[in-house]
């Protein structure tokens, strides 16, 4: 593309290019730096990141989906291959068993030995398999998986809003991880070496690299060139580009847009899976967590390549992979490297993608979308709370949760209920940000965690008394939220999801894995008042009622969480009903129009991030106080993804949705019931969560609460007799001309002086036959109705009635 460049465009490409060149010059000039940057391990990691990134670009070009599960596919393929090599087994994801409830009921009845036939967990191909058959089988599996993703998930979503696509890909990510954890637990799996290359060093002059690493790098480069040729030089590529513009474009070229998308999905899963397998072989190991997290550098690289250029994507991916070992070296050897508690700050290598993302987005982004740029698309409808719901909802919820929670529930159920309550808080923070203003944040538990660690530090080391650290923690979360909001001012939709995900992954390492902050081996303790501490087993007498049965968890912890949930629930419901809420929803549906209506889009976005982070921060503080110590695992990025998933499942646009989400959340009441009553193992939480997310995104984009609401409305519509005369529906020709006619005589030139007089123009001098002077309070319905009477016969009679009802 040759387009004339303005000075600022030149600056936008020139400055980053200069920075990159300068950094490379420094690295090349120093021997140590060079050796660590151009290391075999760095190249291998770069190759894997590049393959994932290429897969991401391929699917984006083919179907417009930014596949956040791309890296998880690499991990999954490596597991399939490793299991085939080691045991000759092709493991299968858990499949739903229609007979299982029978077994559950019999077990409930007391006969634990009863078992119905179950699906196989794997297909055996004899003993350990050779390299080639295992590879081919694993790749066939990848191809099939790509096809399933297309047919079952992303084809139904092809016209869906960006949010639904992001949610679906997060669901796939969680599902793949959960299947692997279910089958192999979280421990590292050994992967055998590749047969045709080994670990002998090859000297390439500038640096040394092992044979197998060199092989992997060359393979990726070949793949990148092949993809470039396929997409840039073949009819297939032309058709994909045409289809991206317009489905008809591909049809004209004789291709089916649907088949093209399917082909790109298969292509991307195979490319990603292949490199997942090879890099796992080179590293001799695979685990369920390391590879999926590589989606962050991979998506960063794809972003550098504008989700189109294979060359830039590959280059950036290698750079992002190779900097890891350099940064580790710098941390160990350089005195200027940032230190925390005498040790180098961990996770600086994860800050690099974040910086790159923010830089790229800041340079390319627009503070308001240009003409034709779509926002996150339609989000679930966000109902304003009805007065009765506001009056009785909070107390109702409190009573329903409180009485059983304090007096009747078993300890395990009490724990589940408390998890639900803290889950509701996090979901509420997502409701504000995604449900109200349409910004996708995948970093909500990072805000919560920052707050939790603040609480730990202030309560234990600085002696702050009980409620104060909550406010301080929430304040820290707000600061972080506002920082994250800054890129959100210029980017939207999936790009924002990527930026927040990179932020979450970086915070995981830089803050939560930082022994100076997390308290190292002992963890960070929170000085909790005995009354609130979950482990407290004392019983208490209040007004002659005994609370507590001498077992953990302490019922008063539950009461504390409940108070917070009700307070925050009201806060969010009030926000929706307020002017700020209307402005947020206006921004959500159309940023340009909101700005034109005088809404300061940037300020309201920052405000929303602040409110959302505040809620998440209070949630983090509650979690800290509840358990009395803070461990990073509650706040890692995958927890953010999980909460996002459950908030979306519950219904992302309302308080009811957040409550539903809290019931579904891992460890919450829903799963405790399944676990306690039906004996469902814990690993199924994520599995069902991931699957549920995909299914919800595909079938029912409004979430559970949204679905219930639409069903209820439909039911009410069916039960209620049709309104006798509903102007817009009763008059088919209710075009602008018709509906405007009634009011025509309302604004006679001589009486209407709106800029000076604040009162609505009352048709005192109106030339309408029966427009008698009407009281100031409600001039509209009567006047317009009577005026309408003289003009439009069909809708006239109905107008005042409807307008009156509306008031």
């Amino acid at each position: 593309m040759t387009r004339p460049r303005t000075p600022s465009a030149r600056l936008r490409t020139g400055v980053p290019a200069l920075v990159v060149v300068a950094l490379l010059a420094v690295i090349l000039a120093k021997g140590d730096y060079r050796a660590n940057f151009f290391s075999g391990g760095g190249f291998a990691l770069g190759a894997l990141v590049a393959a994932i990134a290429l897969g991401v670009v391929v699917t984006y070009r083919g179907s417009g989906v930014v596949n956040l599960a791309g890296a998880a596919v690499a991990m999954y393929a490596a597991y399939v291959y490793a299991d085939l090599r080691a045991h000759g087994d092709l493991f299968l994801p858990p499949l739903p068993n229609p007979l299982a409830p029978i077994e559950g009921l019999v077990h409930l009845a007391g006969d634990d030995s009863f078992a119905v036939p179950h699906w196989p967990t794997s297909v055996s191909f004899g003993t350990a398999m050779g390299f080639w058959p295992a590879l081919v089988l694993a790749l066939v599996f990848c191809a099939l998986f790509g096809l399933v993703l297309h047919v079952a998930v992303f084809r139904p979503l092809r016209h869906a809003p960006v949010l639904a696509k992001v949610v679906a890909s997060v669901g796939v990510l969680l599902f793949l991880q959960a299947v692997v954890v279910r089958r192999f637990s979280t421990t590292t799996q050994v992967v055998g070496p590749l047969p045709f290359v080994d670990k002998t060093q090859v000297d390439l002059g500038l640096f040394k690299i092992t044979q197998e690493q060199l092989f992997v790098v060359c393979l990726v480069l070949v793949l990148a060139v092949a993809l470039w040729a396929l997409f840039g030089r073949s009819r297939f590529g032309l058709a994909v580009r045409a289809a991206a513009e317009n489905e008809k474009g591909a049809t004209v070229l004789g291709f089916s847009a649907d088949r093209l998308a399917a082909a790109t999905w298969v292509l991307s899963t195979v490319v990603t899976g292949l490199l997942g397998i090879f890099v796992a072989s080179v590293n001799s190991a695979v685990d369920p967590n390391t590879m999926p997290a590589l989606i962050v550098p991979a998506v960063t690289a794809a972003l550098v390549g504008g989700f189109t250029s294979f060359g830039w994507t590959t280059l950036a991916a290698f750079g992002l992979g190779m900097q890891v070992s350099l940064v580790t070296f710098l941390g160990a050897n350089e005195s200027w490297f940032p230190k925390a508690g005498g040790l180098p700050v961990p996770g600086v290598d994860l800050l690099v993608p974040l910086v790159v993302i923010v830089a790229v987005l800041a340079l390319r982004g627009q503070s308001l979308p240009t003409r034709g740029v779509l926002g996150p698309g339609r989000l679930p409808f966000s109902p304003s709370a009805r007065p009765w719901a506001l009056r009785y909802g909070g107390p109702g919820l409190a009573v329903v949760a409180l009485i059983p929670g304090v007096f009747f529930l078993s300890p395990a159920m009490r724990d589940g209920l408390t998890n639900t309550l803290t889950g509701i808080v996090i979901c509420l923070s997502i409701v504000v940000l995604t449900g109200f203003i349409g910004q996708i944040s995948l970093a909500q538990t990072s805000f919560a965690g920052l707050s939790a660690y603040t609480v730990a530090s202030l309560s234990t080391h600085h002696g702050w008394p009980f409620p104060l650290p909550i406010l301080a923690g929430a304040a820290v979360a707000v600061v972080a939220g506002v920082l994250v909001a800054l890129p959100a001012l210029r980017v939207r939709g999936v790009h924002l999801a990527i930026a927040t995900l990179a932020f979450a992954v970086a915070v995981d390492k830089v803050v939560f894995a930082n022994s100076w902050i997390n308290g190292g081996f002992d963890g960070a303790t929170v000085t909790t008042p005995d009354l609130l501490r979950s482990q407290d087993t004392a019983t208490h007498e209040f007004l002659g009622v005994t609370i507590g049965d001498g077992t953990q968890p302490n019922p008063l912890t539950l009461v504390f969480c409940l108070v917070v949930v009700v307070a925050l629930g009201y806060l969010v419901a009030n926000l929706r009903r307020s002017l700020t809420g209307r402005q947020m929803l206006a921004i959500r549906s159309n940023e340009r129009a909101a700005a034109a209506a005088g809404v300061n889009v940037a300020a309201v976005k920052v405000l929303a991030f602040g409110v959302s982070a505040f809620i998440a921060g209070v949630g983090g503080a509650v979690i800290a106080y509840r358990t009395g110590n803070v461990t990073p695992d509650k706040f890692l990025y995958d927890k953010s993804l999980m909460f996002f998933a459950f908030a979306y499942l519950g219904g992302i646009a309302s308080v009811t949705g957040a409550v539903t989400g809290g019931l579904l959340v891992g460890g919450g009441l829903g799963f405790t019931v399944l676990n306690q009553v039906f004996g469902l193992p814990d690993e199924f939480v994520l599995l069902l969560g991931g699957l549920g997310l995909v299914v919800t995104a595909v079938l029912n984009p409004e979430g559970v609460a949204g679905k219930a609401r639409t069903d209820l409305l439909a039911l009410r519509r069916r039960l209620r007799p049709p309104a006798p005369a509903d102007p817009p529906t009763s008059t088919d020709s209710a075009t602008m001309a018709d509906s405007s006619t009634p009011a025509e005589p309302l604004i006679p030139a001589d009486t209407a002086t709106p800029t000076t007089g604040p009162t609505p123009t009352v048709p005192s001098a109106a030339p309408t036959p029966n427009a008698a002077p009407t009281p100031n309070a409600a001039p509209t319905p009567v006047a317009s109705g009577s005026a309408a009477g003289s003009h439009v016969s069909g809708s006239a009679g109905a107008t005042p009635a409807v307008a009156g009802e509306a008031r």
């Binding site: 405000l607 405007s740 800029t755």
Partner: protein, 250 residues
């Protein structure tokens, strides 16, 4: 006559394309000014430029202030309203709420108070007035998705009107209306102007623009080719050429 809006050598440049090229235009208080031109003449780019949705060169004066570096929302608050060709209503808000977003201004104190008492009585005068002027009060509690296209157009105009602007720039408001509807719409515009709001009407419906406007600017390829009363403009050779040319092409 008091000057409301004046552009001086205003240009909108996309890459190397001058969508608007050094346009001088003036709207006085209480006037209904038309801006016409064939497709691609730069009409929407001009509106985007003065309302702050695209970067411009040259000067834009509004109510005696230079506003060409002000962000879009601040220009709206100064009284420079606009409507959209594609309406761009807030689909998730009721008609009344749509208008409220246009009419109400938030403060820090108001935000905090909102969290405690969101339902408190607010001044609805401007919203009710706009609903009245456009005759859509009976639709106030409906969602934009539940009403007809013509009514949606009125809601779009109402949202702008509820902010009590001094000037409304209307981007092709009559698109999709037949001749009778368009005539009625023209009378409605006249009433808005009589109520003290000036209008810059951008359209390519010659009948509408020539019928209601006090003065008309004609642009082609981003440049002004004629300016004057409707009668003067219709008589202009260049205008005839431009319009006949368009018709021949389409």
């Amino acid at each position: 006559m008091t000057e409301l809006l004046r552009t001086e050598a205003m240009s909108v440049v996309y890459g190397g394309l001058h969508a608007v090229n050094g346009l001088d235009l003036r709207v006085d208080e209480g006037r209904l000014v038309g801006l016409i031109g064939p497709n691609g003449a730069g009409k929407t780019s001009f509106i985007d430029g003065i309302s702050g949705f695209t970067r411009t060169q040259g000067a834009i004066h509004f109510r005696g202030r230079r506003v060409d570096r002000e962000p879009a929302h601040r220009r709206a608050r100064l009284g420079l309203g606009r409507t959209w060709q594609s309406l761009e209503l807030f689909e998730d808000l009721t008609v009344r709420e749509n208008l409220q977003v246009g009419a109400e201004r938030q403060t820090v104190g108001g935000f905090l108070l909102d969290l405690v008492r969101p339902g408190r009585q607010r001044d609805q005068t401007d919203v009710d007035w706009a609903l009245d002027v456009l005759g859509i009060a009976h639709l106030a509690d409906r969602l934009p998705t539940e009403i007809s296209h013509g009514q949606r157009k009125l809601v779009g105009a109402g949202r702008t009107l509820a902010a009590r602007p001094a000037l409304i720039c209307m981007d092709e408001p009559a698109a999709g209306l037949d001749t009778t509807e368009s005539e009625q719409f023209g009378r409605r515009l006249r009433r808005i102007v009589d109520a003290g709001v000036s209008i810059l009407l951008v359209d390519h419906d010659m009948g509408l623009v020539m019928g209601v406007c006090d003065e008309v600017y004609v642009i082609e390829f981003g440049t002004r080719i004629a300016h004057g009363t409707p009668a003067q403009v219709v008589a202009d050779e260049k205008v005839r050429a431009a319009y006949l040319g368009t018709k021949a092409a389409s």
